[in-house]
């Protein structure tokens, strides 16, 4: 059965211009992302991963090519994309609920239904009692969870995650990656995530896309099929799967890291 395409990335090229010259950041990237799929993007630093996300979000215009979201061209004002950053970027002067509602506020969609949905999400993911607290009172992991709910609340068709865990310490990072992986699957979200962490990429993804170094192009797309010990596939459990090590080695080789 042919699944529905949420994102179609069509021969994207991106050049940066400075007075010193021109840098080719991305060269001819083609990628389709299907509904309900989590795709992770790995590649050497500076290969244009974040640039690609910004292009998909419609924040910057590519030099060549186009991105279609649900068959429509991506624009800045499209409200069907949620973007999650490295840091949570919660606003210190707003309480948790107000932080979660910022997207709806901007889109003029604060109504009873959405408010209820926001409170439900907070409740479901263990933040209900903190809705009147301020960001400074929450731990790093909880803050990142609030940031995810802030993007979920606008009901985006596509979630873009730009190294969302890299600002957290290692233990929190493992725990929150697990949680967010579960949340994404449970809410049946389509997501594209950039990461540096190969293990994280494999454990969370349905497919891993490996980019080459600058100018970034797609080197390989690896579908991940793990025989998880239980039916419920969580990122943590995935790390125990026997195939995990095999994928890890494969991606490591593809990344072709030289120090």
């Amino acid at each position: 059965m042919e699944k529905k395409k949420v994102v179609e990335i069509k021969s994207i090229c991106m050049n940066y211009h400075t007075l010193k010259g021109e840098t080719e950041a991305i060269k001819d990237v083609n990628l389709d992302i299907y509904k309900g799929e989590i795709v992770t993007l790995v590649g050497p630093s500076g290969c244009g991963k974040s640039t690609l996300l910004s292009i998909i979000a419609g924040l910057i215009k590519p030099t060549k090519g186009e991105v279609l979201i649900n068959g429509k061209k991506a624009t800045k004002t499209a409200s069907d994309i949620g973007y999650m950053f490295q840091r949570d970027h919660l606003f210190e002067w707003r309480n948790i609920l107000q932080n979660v509602l910022i997207g709806l506020e901007i889109q003029g969609k604060v109504n009873e239904d959405n408010l209820k949905y926001a409170e439900e999400l907070l409740e479901t993911y263990g933040l209900g009692e903190f809705k009147n607290s301020f960001p400074r009172q929450l731990s790093g992991g909880m803050r990142q969870r609030v940031a995810l709910i802030r993007t979920l609340v606008i009901k985006p068709d596509l979630l873009l995650l730009d190294e969302p865990f890299s600002a957290l310490d290692y233990q929190t990072r493992l725990a929150i990656a697990d949680e967010i992986g579960i949340i994404l699957k449970k809410e049946k979200k389509t997501a594209l995530m950039v990461t540096h962490d190969i293990a994280e990429a494999i454990s969370m993804a349905d497919r891993v896309v490996v980019l080459t170094k600058r100018p970034g192009t797609i080197k390989d797309i690896i579908p991940i099929k793990l025989s998880c010990p239980e039916d419920i596939r969580t990122p943590m459990k995935c790390r125990e799967a026997p195939e995990f090590r095999h994928y890890f080695n494969k991606i490591w080789k593809e990344l072709d890291v030289h120090v």
Binding site: I81, Y83, H89
Partner: protein, 268 residues
Amino acid sequence: MYKNISTEHEEYIKKVKKRKKAIFITQILILVIWLVLWEILARFGRVDTFLTSYPSEIWKLFLNYTKNGGLFYHVGISVFETVIGFLAGTILGVIIAIILWWSDFLAKVLDPYLVVLNSLPKTALAPIVILWVGAGYSGIIVTAITVSIVITIMNVYIGFTNVDEDKIRLLQTFGATKLQILKKVVLPSNIPTIISTLKVNIGLSWVGVIVGEFLVSKAGIGYLIVYGGQVFKLDLVMMSVFILAIISAIMYQLIALLENKYMKWQQQ
């Protein structure tokens, strides 16, 4: 707090409180000793009272001025000019900073002019301002504005441009307009900057008002100081300076109170 505190902790608190008290008492003592010394030296003719006056005489003059209401009149005028100049300078400064933030081109174009204006002692402009605007209250208020507005523009604009780029991008991914970005992130995240600008501006506005009053006024604290100086009534000059010090300190404290309130609200 905890009901049962250990004696060790109790002692610690005692020590901190004791130290605080000692600092306060010393501060008061310095003031008292200075005033007493001044009075004694004047009485015994060790300092020239024609040049320095002395506390009891200043106090007598103060009572006189309060009795006939003249003091309140002069203080009222100066406070009025300062408050208006302070508010106008701050509000206009913030508005101009918003315009500069809005148009990067304009900000780049005006940058060298702002730098020059900022390094220029604004009091040098006072005679020109008064000639242009007029010698009444308006001239003095505009002088006060010129003193505080440039630094307000620069500080607030820098605060605006220092807002985390990713916070703005976050709002853009929700489809925010520039006005929404201004209202939802740029202004609220700069409230501490604006409050600290207020603290600077209250002092600067006083500079503008006093200089303006030196030049043209017929009333106000600056007028009293100049008048007293011209007729060699040093007790009048001293009294005016004391009052000026007290009032500007009160105004500064009011702003500090506002800042405290805001910080407390943030940390609740």
